[in-house]
């Protein structure tokens, strides 16, 4: 069997989640090709060629793919599709955007957000905010799949795959990139960090997130947030952890001033160790926390920072 895996990147860095998606491809079993679609993305190609388990890296470096517009990338994948039984991408915003488009163009449905592989056509995926786990068999001849990276362990990066440059430029000419407003941060990516500290409505405003920063610096942590904190404008949207935000599973997750709604739990309850800091002893977050402390966060956070 042949498997095409889409590499997630920003034209300069190959996202760590791709290493986990390749692990999912290995669990399916077959010859794995990694596709790098972008523009001026040589550093990504170099990184991709080192991913273990990958036999070939296909490179589509063209202005049409600079911003990975769904309309253009889906046409590219469609051109390549006949060589593969499985087409796989990470369930991050790029993959979630263009992959269902690929599926529909191929007249197949998609199996979204898988966390385990049962066999080459049967996959496990969380539904209902992770309150049920479905095992789904695809009846389509071609499988189009997105992978929840937290379900798989990253492959190593000491491989040496062949690099093949594609001479394809599929521009649908129906969409255009206008601008980006990206969040710049020195901290690790939420999806890749070993420690995540998140603030909720209890933080009261964006300024108070500084209280988390000192701790994050000491622990090398990424900073996340609940939907309530994002909706209130304390922090940007890309920090939202949960059912409809980012899914994380770090070694340590610290929830501060977060009540623990099912939609938030859906994004973090697979973390190895969970700590909750909340002044309400009845807050549901304590039901999933390994260590809870009933305290006012404005007292607890400065003390925690000083004692780390």
């Amino acid at each position: 069997m042949s498997i095409l895996v889409f590499a997630e990147h920003d034209n300069s860095i190959l996202k760590a989640e791709t290493l986990k998606t390749v692990a999912a491809a290995q669990a399916i079993g077959g010859d794995i090709t990694l596709l790098v679609a972008g523009h001026n993305c040589q550093s990504v190609v170099d990184a991709a060629s080192k991913v273990n388990g990958v036999s070939k890296v296909l490179v589509a470096d063209n202005t049409a793919y600079a911003h990975q517009l769904a309309e253009n990338v889906s046409l590219l994948v469609l051109e390549l599709a006949s060589d593969y039984e499985h087409i796989i991408a990470t369930a991050l915003t790029t993959g979630k955007n263009f992959m269902p488009r690929v599926a529909a163009l191929l007249d197949v449905t998609q199996i979204s957000d898988i966390i385990a592989v049962e066999s080459s056509d049967t996959f496990v995926r969380p539904i209902y905010a992770g309150n049920a786990i479905a095992t789904v068999q695809s009846l389509d001849s071609k499988k189009v799949i997105t992978v929840r990276a937290t379900g798989f362990d990253a492959v190593a990066t000491d491989g040496n795959a062949d690099i093949v440059t594609l001479d394809i430029a599929t521009d649908a000419n129906i969409s255009a990139h206008v601008s980006d407003e990206l969040t710049v941060s020195e901290r690790p990516d939420l999806g890749a960090a070993g420690v995540v500290i998140s603030g909720g409505r209890g933080m009261q405003n964006g300024d108070n997130f500084k209280l988390l920063e000192g701790i994050a610096d000491k622990l090398g942590a990424a900073i996340g947030a609940s939907r309530a904190a994002v909706d209130a404008g304390f922090v940007p949207n890309d920090m939202q952890v949960g059912q409809t935000g980012k899914i994380v599973a770090p070694d340590l997750y610290i929830a501060v001033g977060i009540s623990g709604a099912i939609q938030h739990l859906a994004g973090m309850k697979d973390s190895k160790v969970i700590v909750a800091i909340n002044k309400d002893p009845e807050a549901p977050i304590f039901q999933v926390a390994d260590y809870g402390i009933v305290a006012d966060l404005f007292d607890a956070l400065p003390e925690l920072e000083s004692k780390l």
Partner: protein, 250 residues
């Protein structure tokens, strides 16, 4: 211009679903159902475009059995002008939902189709993108801002690294994210008025589509449960536990 808003009837977001003892599916008997929250945001956006004079008609469509008429009435109470129910007892795969919606797009010729980014029950996040592919339209997924500008629509999207703005040729597909708007509550007079707005019923079987299932649900199981841990009294104790018991910090 017309806007089409596909809406899905789902479990109320406050309800924690239970798995049936025979692991065949989740148990939805006597569970509170509601319009999918992202679809509610989609209806609100369409109605605001109408109130702003950009849009002339808002059509809500839902695929499901008779009970989804309840959610269509909600959409009408929120300001949609008319509704279409595509009747089926099957739990259709996303691709088949998209194929049925494509038929409605062909009939109604909307300039904009606004869907939710994800249904909070099956959490697929794919129907809008599939409809875009089938109709050949561009797509602005996970929208936090939508601005119609002549023959284009500008969509600001919530992406992993922040926000991205793209320009799409109309007609186009938009899927909503949480920050697009805050849906209104339906007023009592509008709920009453909604009862008299047109709701057309069509049978899924009458569209001449092959709607054979593309997936088979093998089983549904409860997730692994986490044991609640302990409450520590002091920060010193917490730091000690993290260092020496959990060994997650050094």
């Amino acid at each position: 211009m017309k806007v089409l808003v596909p809406i899905k009837r789902v479990i109320d977001y406050n309800v924690k679903v239970r798995v049936k003892p025979d692991n065949s599916n989740v148990d939805l008997a006597n569970v509170k159902m509601a319009i999918n929250p992202f679809c509610e945001i989609a209806v609100e956006e369409a109605v605001r475009l109408k109130e702003a004079g950009t849009v002339t008609e808002v059509i809500a469509v839902s695929i499901g059995n008779k009970s989804c008429q309840e959610q269509l009435r909600t959409a009408l109470a929120l300001g949609a002008d008319r509704a279409i129910q595509i009747e089926t007892d099957e739990n259709l795969d996303s691709l088949n939902i998209a194929k049925l919606l494509q038929k409605i797009v062909e009939e109604e010729q909307p300039q904009l189709v606004i869907l939710g980014k994800q249904a909070i029950d099956s959490d697929n996040n794919q129907t809008g993108q599939m409809l875009a592919a089938l109709t050949g339209m561009p797509q602005g997924t996970f929208a936090s801002m939508v601005k119609v500008d002549g023959d284009k629509v500008h969509v600001t999207r919530e992406v992993d690294d922040g926000l991205q703005t793209i320009a799409l040729n109309l007609p186009a597909i938009v899927t909503t994210d949480l920050r697009l708007n805050e849906p209104r509550y339906a007023s009592l007079p509008n709920i009453m008025k909604a009862k008299r707005k047109p709701l057309m019923v069509k049978a899924a079987a009458d569209f001449g589509l092959d709607l054979a299932p593309r997936t088979k649900l093998v089983k549904v199981t409860p997730p692994a449960t986490r044991q609640a841990g302990i409450i520590v009294e002091t920060i010193d104790e917490l730091v000690d536990k993290l260092k020496n018991e959990a060994k997650v910090i050094s």
